[in-house]
């Protein structure tokens, strides 16, 4: 059965704007994005919203629904009371282009700052030999759809714009962890994670994990293991001493080769 829902939606360009009220029809089985599209079709043809797959896999329709970062296409209207006013705003951490559409280029900039996968010298593509158990840990991180809700909700940059230069955000610290755990990656990522990408800013309050639509355990499986790897490198005197005595060059096991 359909009903009339009350919506409050942020309207405006370049940060300036206000919440506008709407009453719009809602039908059974619909999601928030469906309702926004109905608003466009019937009342506000100039309402801007970014979307694509409507299946929770493209990461385009990230927005804040009743203050929580959510995908519009995965937020069922049946989770709200019929008399409830639903507030929809753009992601708060990123600049607004128009209405619900934000400029997420901060994330692309941070992605470019991370050195790409670096195999050992002499090993060519096609020569990599890895066992499943060696790669399945980092495969979890490959589920990321880059909705950037983790970076949006992270208070390090959400509440402190000035930290944006020094902090890559959970999405890209997870990328660093993914590469650092890769059996064939030989780039040194521990020092740079701490010094250049701001891992130390993370105080593991787990909001990134809470909002991830792919249910990736970002904090437990990427950020904390990466923090522990940094401790090996920078803060653990026993590991340092062990590396000196046994002349170890790294802390992640043997160096990969063609026969790894």
């Amino acid at each position: 059965m359909g009903y009339k829902a009350k919506f409050r939606i942020w309207r405006g360009e370049g940060g300036e704007g206000k919440l506008e009220d709407f009453v719009v029809e809602v039908n059974e089985g619909e999601v928030v994005l469906d309702v926004i599209h109905r608003l466009q079709a019937t009342q506000t043809p100039d309402l801007a919203v970014r979307w694509n797959c409507k299946a929770g896999k493209c990461g385009s329709c990230s927005m804040e629904i009743n203050g929580k970062p959510r995908l519009g296409c995965m937020t069922r209207m049946s989770t709200f009371e019929e008399e409830e006013t639903i507030t929809v705003t753009p992601m708060r951490t990123f600049p607004v282009i128009k209405d619900l559409v934000t400029d997420v280029s901060f994330n692309y900039q941070k992605a470019r700052e991370i050195p790409s996968f670096t195999p050992p010298e002499g090993v060519k593509p096609g020569e990599y030999r890895m066992q499943q158990i060696d790669v399945e840990r980092s495969q979890e991180f490959r589920k990321c759809i880059e909705c950037f809700m983790c970076n949006n909700v992270c208070h390090v940059i959400r509440d402190h714009e000035e930290n944006k230069a020094a902090f890559a955000g959970p999405r890209f610290l997870m990328r660093i962890a993914e590469l650092d755990m890769h059996p064939y990656d030989v780039a040194d990522r521990k020092d740079s994670a701490q010094e250049e990408h701001g891992l130390g800013y993370c105080n593991i309050t787990k909001c990134c994990t809470e909002v991830c639509p792919e249910h990736i355990k970002i904090t437990d499986n990427a950020l904390i293991p990466m923090k522990e790897r940094v401790v090996d490198r920078k803060y653990d005197p026993l590991v340092w001493l062990g590396n000196k005595i046994f002349k170890r060059t790294g802390s992640s096991g043997s160096t990969p080769s063609k026969t790894a």
């Binding site: 942020w10 360009e13 370049g14 940060g15 300036e16 599209h37 506000t44 043809p45 100039d46 309402l47 801007a48 919203v49 970014r50 979307w51 385009s60 009743n66 203050g67 929580k68 409830e84 507030t87 705003t89 708060r92 951490t93 990123f94 600049p95 607004v96 282009i97 128009k98 209405d99 559409v101 066992q131 158990i133 060696d134 909700v153 208070h155 509440d159 714009e161 755990m181 059996p183 130390g200 800013y201 993370c202 105080n203 593991i204 309050t205 909001c207 437990d220 293991p225 522990e228 790897r229 401790v231 090996d232 920078k234 803060y235 653990d236 802390s251 992640s252 096991g253 990969p256 790894a260």
Partner: protein, 271 residues
Amino acid sequence: MTQTTAGRPTNDPAQRKQRAQIKARTLRTDRWWLAPAITFAALASFLVYGLWAIFDKSYFVEPYIAPFSSPCLATSCPEGARFLGLAPFGDWWTLPPGILILGLPAGFRLTCYYYRKGYYRAFWLSPPACAVAEPHKKYTGETRLPLIMQNIHRYFFYGAVLIALVLTWDAVLALRDENGNWGHVGLGTIILWINVVLIWAYTLSCHSCRHITAGRLNHFSKHPLRYKMWTFVSKLNSRHMLLAWLSMYSVMIADLYVRLVAKGIVNFPFA
């Protein structure tokens, strides 16, 4: 290709620099304050109890010793309470003996990755809940002193393993009666054993333990035994929060129970 329907976005980069100027601290409509409030109350009650317990002198009654005061390492400890009969700190230590070892379990929990989340949210409001603005004007996280010291968590983990071993020994000794005969099982014995199992589960579920077993390796296939340990610890680690709370309350209940028996407040036959 991603679509941006309706409205024509501005092409002026200057206009793109501002985030939405929303004045409200949060637009969340759920009871986001409930979880940090409960955490605050629970952790505060533990701190208050711990402060009382550490100065309370009724920490030993054959065959039980209160976990907050174990191992008892000073001459001021009753003879039966001394760990392995030793008193390495001698008689110069006149403060409550529990203070001598307090640092290890306290430091382990204080630097624990779960408790950090708990108290950063509940006590420091950084942030109080997800998508709720924190009140602080500046934030440097764990990049500088004093919070950079959180990185020594693994050393407290080693200390916590020692404390868990001591508590296990205490639970074994609780299988004797007050005359030293083995085979005794009182309510205190059961409480101490439940506590020690939860303490071990919490200690081994630690993120540092997970890293030490094999998390630091990139080639699990070359270290099958360590990989098995890592898999086991990872399963425990997924319940680290639950185990943190359960073990915190179990140690508090076990400690209180022993003190009540020692004070004679609990004095039924199977105590």
